[in-house]
Symmetry: C2
Subunit: 695 residues, 2 copies
Amino acid sequence: SPLRCLLAYSKPAVVPYTEEWLPAGHSTMKMSGVGPLTAALRMQNVVQSSSRWAQGQQYRPWTLRSLKLQPLSPVPSDIEISRAQTPKPVDQLAQEIGLLQEETEAYGRTKAKVRLSLLDRLREQPDGKYVLVAGITPTPLGEGKSTVVIGLVQALSAHLKLNSFACLRQPSQGPTFGVKGGAAGGGYAQVIPMEEFNLHLTGDIHAITAANNLVAAAIDARMLHEATQKDKALYSRLVPSVNGVRRFSPIQIARLRRLGISEIDPSALMPQEVSSFVRLDLDPAKVTWQRVVDTNDRFLRKITVGQASTEKGHVRETQFDIAVASEIMAILALADGLGDMKTRLGRMVVGSSRSGQPVTAEDLGVSGALAVLMKDAIKPTLMQTLEGSPVFVHAGPFANIAHGNSSVLADKLALKLVGEDGFVVTEAGFGADIGMEKFFNIKCRASGLRPNVVVLVATVRALKMHGGGPNVSAGSPLPREYIDENLSLVVKGCSSNLRKQIQIAHLFGVPVVVALNVFKTDTQAEIDLVCQMAKESGASDAVPCHHWARGGRGSVELAQAVKQAGSQPSHFQFLYSQETPIVEKIRMIAQKVYGADDIELSPEAQAKIDYYNQQGYGKLPICMAKTHLSLSHLPEKKGTPTGFTLPIRDIRASIGAGFIYPLVGTMSTMPGLPTRPCFYDIDLDPVTEEITGLF
Amino acid sequence: SPLRCLLAYSKPAVVPYTEEWLPAGHSTMKMSGVGPLTAALRMQNVVQSSSRWAQGQQYRPWTLRSLKLQPLSPVPSDIEISRAQTPKPVDQLAQEIGLLQEETEAYGRTKAKVRLSLLDRLREQPDGKYVLVAGITPTPLGEGKSTVVIGLVQALSAHLKLNSFACLRQPSQGPTFGVKGGAAGGGYAQVIPMEEFNLHLTGDIHAITAANNLVAAAIDARMLHEATQKDKALYSRLVPSVNGVRRFSPIQIARLRRLGISEIDPSALMPQEVSSFVRLDLDPAKVTWQRVVDTNDRFLRKITVGQASTEKGHVRETQFDIAVASEIMAILALADGLGDMKTRLGRMVVGSSRSGQPVTAEDLGVSGALAVLMKDAIKPTLMQTLEGSPVFVHAGPFANIAHGNSSVLADKLALKLVGEDGFVVTEAGFGADIGMEKFFNIKCRASGLRPNVVVLVATVRALKMHGGGPNVSAGSPLPREYIDENLSLVVKGCSSNLRKQIQIAHLFGVPVVVALNVFKTDTQAEIDLVCQMAKESGASDAVPCHHWARGGRGSVELAQAVKQAGSQPSHFQFLYSQETPIVEKIRMIAQKVYGADDIELSPEAQAKIDYYNQQGYGKLPICMAKTHLSLSHLPEKKGTPTGFTLPIRDIRASIGAGFIYPLVGTMSTMPGLPTRPCFYDIDLDPVTEEITGLF
């Protein structure tokens, strides 16, 4: 354009005299009193700035700078490795992966929340490949799924130079200070800084705790107020006269609608309508909502509340769960936006009335406050791996009473950011029979996303245990079987649990790559055997990986296998339709996934199913609360148990999250502290501010 | 300098060939093989970069940009006012007030934590003037201390153009969703964004909750483990063999020292030493540590824990307090650095052993973990007022069982930042008899800071109530006395409560400015009368202020009065020496501050005093837990009660925070929810993300 040379040295993005530019009522063609060159320059500027805006809205190719890693041998402690690496400033990382400045909110130097407006901006951008990391049935020997997720992403991004993103769950603080330690990966496959990952992060779990406990306080206070006040007093307090005007709040109008009352003038309600409006009439014995803390506090497993005289004898037995067991955590993980989260929070059922009607958070008038408390928690947190690849940390629901997967929103944001040729690697809790099955049937159903590849993590040690190796116990030396070569145990483990878990993934039509997480005691013959048998069992590929000791470089082979599998067509299908009756859904999971002969429902479970059907919950997906230590309901049964009937002890529902969870055995929702918890070794140097003892 | 012209166009801050510059072992004078001009250039660069560094370390004058305020009439709701103002990006604010980039950690766009390294950098910088805002005895009619703090700082900074900083307490979330609403000020004197201020802020209270409850879980788990294991089993678990080596952790070595055991080889302890080491022998009836939640949950006021079968019958009655009542909050507010905080956390007494010895957090092995959980909470959070003046929000301990003041560290950082001619305005909870007395005797004693001015806040309405006006009750119309002019009630209020509170401030040798927070029903005659009588009672000045309706402009007269009072010499003195015996300290506060004839100790209180003296706690300052609604212990006694004896029901101690707190009556440490809590009106628009209903 002939104007370009004129503009070459005129830097301003818009012409300097903006005050007379496009005044109200003037179209761009009316430029009275302005010479033709000025007008042309202005026009040029408009064109340029529009195109800059449009460019700003487009997908931005990555310019990811990897962090150099020089692994030491022997491998130092996790916190030493984490501390030895300097993370990139998080705003730099955000820029490298194409985020706009206004799309991030830094929390310190190394963490940032990412705004959901990104989904609007990149609406037209095709998603990347979606990879799920699942595991064989867990054993006390550990499998290292998180390290595989991180190692794989380090390999894909830093070594194969493919855009890739890890999506991880935020760990509960309970186990960090209790037994398990942190969850930021390990060795040379970690999220850094690992202490930020393992501590408060950006406060999401604290927000869940606050929201959960506000509901609990509202329930008990409401029961007390209803028990001690007549309808009229309740009504005049619930709908008070403010400056002479009585008005229902929007939350109260929603309750009136559910009660079938269309009147919105408070003075016009009939006494019977007033009574149904003011009385939730919660049955104290049927309150299902529990309080939570993010601390391993076993003494809160069963408690009696309301014993102060101010509560007038309204004592009640209840319990605290660990915060991540809150239904609000499951909702955070499944919501696909602020509106959806708010709707789910409002419809959470907290108990039932004496007449058997469900009572919701919205009935309590608390749903707006819950959405306000959760408004920042809904934004995923961006961090990075030891090699500078991006990681989203977001949500971490329990993997038994909930679905155990990181958030739908983190996956969606990441799939847009990596672009069509990129990879998003996300993780499912527990073994593939639990975490992966729920990933497919619950999470993918909620999100509409379809997986391309399953990475199934195994270790030689765990396979040996599934093959019949002896039990191990904490504190005792590891039996020889797990240290010396033992091909026959490996064969048995591969032909039982590994083969079965591969078959489960194939039920859903998704190709499987087996990742053998190598320990230093594994022999080459054992490694080769696992890989060979995995492929014979139908895996697209099976490769050893060494990210723990060597970082991304140690998992390049896995990355290549995943890339290859991702280029194959995936024929994803759900295991069941949501129209299938509740009992049939449970039976299909028990038989096809767990290998049970059949299921057996307790009378309580049968009664609940009838109740849920009557309430219209019959179409919800199923979230099995089963032990993770066996494909069956019996934790000691390793390998591939057969010939068992799965007992369904009871059934519960998370209506806000949107699933029904049958209880197969007793699930602990509150871990305890051992005699010597992790916290004995955790310390802070007040001068250097260095933390020790986290792992 | 002749070199300057040579350097004019050579931009790099250091010479480009740094790899050969100042190699190890070479002094700056040995520049072998380098020409004289190069050497001179390098020297110039060193000088420049050293001086840049030194300049970077110096105090930086402020370049504060005020935000324009155009107050509307009638005054809109707090959230509407907050939302109508666009805050400056917090990094810009930080730069304007002289913070270095590396001294701040942004939390989103409008909040940043400020690192304590600032105190080192500005060590030599003289402090600004230190202004405390206190109030007359509170009434249900409200006084508005927070709005005075904010309005005064808006006036000082945006209108008098003096560097000034507001230091506020972080509010508990409990009341925000319960009865009281938020605490970000009100009208045109607010901290913005008010929803950030009132919600999670930067997570400090959540960190306190996590730390507090980790101690609680550790206590009950430890009692269970000690009750169910013999010495040998406990010892082998507490000091396990890891890879064949047994070693005490540093926290355990600290416990051994307290027990007088110098041995550090675990295998060399005598059986009796092992027993004293492994057994804290906590008496379940003498555990003083409580769990906390930041929710108004009245049903947790008295509970029974440990009722699950896994806890083997070790049930115990206990309670939850609101999170801000945790001793850890009091510690956060009084600590003057990370090391001091860690020491205080370690020495917190959680109960006593069966033999009557205090058991500390360090004995539980949890003190390092507590410091780790609190490492970010110790950094004050920077926000801004509606007019763009800086605000620190940090800590918010209870004002009865603790000292009710914002943090020492926020005040210290702010006093350095405002510089010698600047002002730091901080707030004390409740009336001057409580908040101000504790500010002087506890907070100033801990910090070493000395106040220059006390601003005493009063309202015509509250003075009328102190003068004998009728009681008011929520929901009923306000009696005429408070709406119409009533000079005789004003006279009585001024000559009783206002005069007494001025006298209390003078006990400490600090000049007083009375700030009359004007309501629209106040008449000019009433306003003039209060100001006149305040000055007659010894106030340096007394002025009406209108910040609620008009922002900083409405409090310029107050700002000028404070500036004037701050230029007078202050002769600060403590009310008592810490060497004074406990009983005498209590008596001095009761007689000189409250106006009691004497004190009366219950036998429990006397026994506790003997115990505390025996334990060496006798030199701690006193933190009275008295009703805030009267100068006496009887809430209904307004004005200046006389002729009463102050009963001391019991005495407790916060050894970590460092004070003893006598209980005068029963203090509720857990608020409840009313029939219609605030949360009914709180909502979030999922599209605009706008919050409604916070106030």
